[in-house]
């Protein structure tokens, strides 16, 4: 349920978590197996604990426990954590009873790094850093240090009905103008237009308006907002026109992270998650395609947001070195396990691009396209794009799109806020 997961996607780090939500219905028997179970058997004398959030897909828990059991240099105990994991971790890190290794959306937060709650993994990773998707590694690096190792990558993308666009003789949209045109064609075909959530898409697409118009959330020094440019004002005005055009579906029977609205024809185009790919393919066969969010304006670029649950090592753990070795073993060396983790339970992208061809769901068609999008056009919220800053930004987007506020004035206030906020959290 979206409502119970209060802190989703604030930093767009919850993308993977949203994948979990969509599959919630399938794992009714989760309670019985949620206790921590000792998985290591023949391990060495060192004991390590590893925490995961509750993945929605069936079989993930057994899989991660078997991975841990295969490790010979330590006895690794896996703890599976149903419930609000995003809050559980920061709270647990305040105590002395911390896991040695834990996963977190897009790596540890700025606060965890500043408080010294997690350790630097730069040396652990070493040269292997080049094996990973550079967009992802850029996000996991802060002040030239790598703070976590990515486990798997989730992303969002645009789904469209091929037959519908063919019939209307409209090209799959590569620009914002094209998207509006395609949405109008879908509406004319009786399908509803473009759908990106029951809030009119302002929540999930807010950051896309920055990236797609060729800008960044923050400037390179992370001292102020990086998007207060005419291109962005033009982009948000274009989105407002789209919102008011009637071709943007504002209410559907399900949310954007569920493929239902697209599958049952409430929308001819929908913003959704890669996690829905299998479901869409089962329902529509080959009659669909995927695209990144189209570029906006002349200096724009295509963009997709990604989220990567990544392994962090806690500083308070009793065997920090052993923990480092374990995460390196699992998420760098054990490529079979990584492919299994990404490909066998739902659709995710292995964090090492070389492994993508080994993931059967990404070997052709839409899956292959999606993997390419992340590599070439993947974006994630900056580590210093804090909760309050993201909230102020989203509020301004809503005020402009839904309440006709003046973009320059609204975002000037966000700019002021950004300066103060960045100063506050860096000091």
């Amino acid at each position: 349920m979206s409502f119970s997961r209060r802190n989703f996607l604030f930093l767009s780090g919850g993308i993977a978590a949203a994948a979990g939500v969509t599959a919630c219905g399938s794992d009714a028997g989760m309670d019985s197996s949620s206790d921590s179970g000792a998985s290591g058997g023949a391990g060495g004398n060192v004991a390590l604990s590893q925490w995961y959030h509750e993945y929605g897909e069936e079989g993930v828990e057994a899989a991660v426990k078997s991975y841990a059991a295969d490790y010979k240099d330590a006895t690794v105990t896996v703890k599976w954590n149903p419930g609000n994991y995003d809050t559980l971790i920061p709270t647990t890190l305040l105590t002395n009873d911390v896991p040695d290794v834990f996963e977190y959306g897009n790596g540890p937060t700025l606060d965890m790094i500043q408080q010294g709650q997690v350790v630097d993994l730069t040396d652990t990773l070493g040269d292997a850093v080049s094996k990973f998707n550079p967009s992802v590694m850029k996000r996991l690096t802060f002040q030239d240090k790598v703070w976590s190792i990515p486990q798997t990558v989730d992303m969002q993308l645009l789904y469209y009905r091929k037959s519908m666009l063919d019939k209307a003789a409209v090209e799959p949209p590569k620009t914002m103008t094209g998207l509006v045109e395609a949405a109008k064609a879908a509406k004319a075909a009786g399908m509803g237009g473009f759908f990106a959530g029951n809030d009119g898409g302002v929540g999930v697409l807010a950051n896309m308006l920055i990236w797609s118009s060729g800008l960044e959330q923050l400037n390179a020094e992370r001292t102020q907002a990086g998007f207060l440019e005419p291109e962005f004002y033009a982009a948000i005005s274009a989105y407002r026109d789209f919102f008011n055009s009637g071709a943007l579906v504002q209410s559907a029977s399900a949310e954007w992270y569920d493929a239902a609205a697209f599958i049952n024809g409430e929308a001819g185009l929908q913003w959704g998650g890669l996690w829905s790919l299998t479901q869409v393919r089962e329902a529509l066969g080959d009659d669909f395609g995927v695209l990144p969010f189209p570029k906006i304006g002349d200096s724009g670029r295509e963009a997709v947001p990604f989220g990567a649950f990544s392994s962090c090592v806690t500083a308070k753990g009793k065997n920090v070195d052993a923990a480092k070795q374990f995460v390196k073993w699992l998420w760098v060396d054990q490529t079979d396990k990584q492919v299994d983790f990404s490909n066998s339970y739902g659709t995710h992208i292995p964090a090492q691009p070389d492994l993508v061809p080994r993931a059967s769901k990404l070997s052709e068609g839409a899956g292959k396209d999606a993997a390419t999008f992340v590599r070439n056009s993947g974006f994630a919220s900056d580590i210093m794009w804090t909760g309050p800053l993201g909230d102020a930004f989203n509020a301004a987007v809503i005020n402009v799109v839904k309440r006709n506020a003046d973009p320059q004035k609204e975002f000037a206030a966000v700019g002021t806020k950004a300066k103060a906020e960045l100063k506050r959290v860096s000091g």
Partner: protein
């Protein structure tokens, strides 16, 4: 007076402490667990939040960086927080009298019933037992959904109108949804409190008034309301605190996976979002915010109390 032996003196001291038949001991035995609970779970956390509010306390409860009033300054210059406080002062000014009038109206109606009183009392009280979250889901997903299948939109279309996007934020209809939900959830509870108050008014007062020719409106104005003042003061105070502490139904009606819209945003929702909402845990900001909201509640609570009891003071 001969001096008592030391032991006897000690015994008398002990006897005083125990009280007659050990009453003081029993008092302590019954009260101590609650006082302890209050202390550990209420007063210490309040004091600790006040302490944290002067520190940069991100991801820590033992902060070391003292920042003085910076957290307070940050919040008081935050346009969203300012807006939220203003909107909810206005909201309190609207919802407190409205809920009170509805509850009192129901209480008076039920009190006048000669049959079926218990049934209607239960019927109106039952929503109090309903979870705010579940009620908000029903309001949001089936009554006031923006799509054409919602109950409200079917009615609107039946009356010849167009589908309304009730919670979408492009209009102000979300207030109707919020207020109707809040009334449905709360009116029954305050109705019960007021019925209890009404039952305590002696019937002979009404009889005396009736002999003097007072009926209807005059009875209400000069007998019922003054006699009900104690209940009224309590109900209004609870309502006022409740208005400033609004969270659940707002969050569940308007919140989404990507946050909460800038409109109809209760102060506590805003504080939750910026201090604990994403992956952050900013206890300094959260502490400062709760201090500000508490100060507001105290100020408006005292003001309201002063206004409501003014008549008494005049009479006195």
């Amino acid at each position: 007076m001969s001096q008592l032996p030391a032991s006897a003196q000690g015994a008398s001291w002990w006897r005083t402490l125990r009280g007659f038949q050990g009453r003081n001991l029993w008092f302590a035995a019954f009260v101590a667990p609650f006082v302890l609970g209050l202390l550990v779970f209420v007063y210490i956390p309040i004091a600790w939040s006040a302490y944290l509010s002067f520190f940069d306390a991100r991801n820590t409860i033992n902060p070391t960086r003292f920042v003085g009033l910076q957290n307070y300054r940050y919040l008081l210059t935050d346009p969203l927080f300012q807006n939220s406080l203003l909107v909810f002062i206005a909201f309190a000014g609207f919802i407190v009298p409205l809920t009170y009038v509805c509850s009192l109206g129901l209480a008076l109606l039920l009190n006048g019933l000669t049959w079926g009183q218990a049934f209607f009392r239960s019927a109106f009280f039952i929503p109090t037992a309903c979870s705010y979250v579940i009620a908000a889901m029903i309001w949001r997903l089936s009554f006031f959904n923006g799509a054409r299948f919602s109950l409200a939109n079917q009615l609107v279309r039946g009356a010849g109108g167009d589908n309304v996007n009730w919670l979408g934020g492009t209009n102000y209809w979300y207030w109707l949804v919020l207020v109707s939900l809040r009334l449905w959830l709360q009116v029954g509870f305050y109705m019960i409190l007021l019925i209890a108050g009404l039952n305590r008014i002696p019937t002979d007062t009404y009889e005396a008034a009736a002999l003097d020719g007072a009926t209807g409106w005059r009875t209400l104005r000069y007998i019922t309301l003054p006699q009900l003042r104690a209940s009224t003061v309590a109900v209004l105070m609870l309502l006022l605190i409740g208005a400033f502490q609004a969270f659940d139904e707002f969050y569940n009606l308007l919140g989404s996976i990507s946050g909460y819209p800038p409109y109809a945003r209760p102060p506590l929702v805003h504080l939750y979002l910026i201090s604990l909402g994403g992956q952050q845990q900013d206890l300094g900001l959260g502490g400062a915010g709760t201090m500000i909201v508490t100060a507001l509640i105290v100020f408006f609570g005292l003001t309201q109390n002063w206004l409501v009891t003014r008549a008494d003071r005049r009479a006195g």
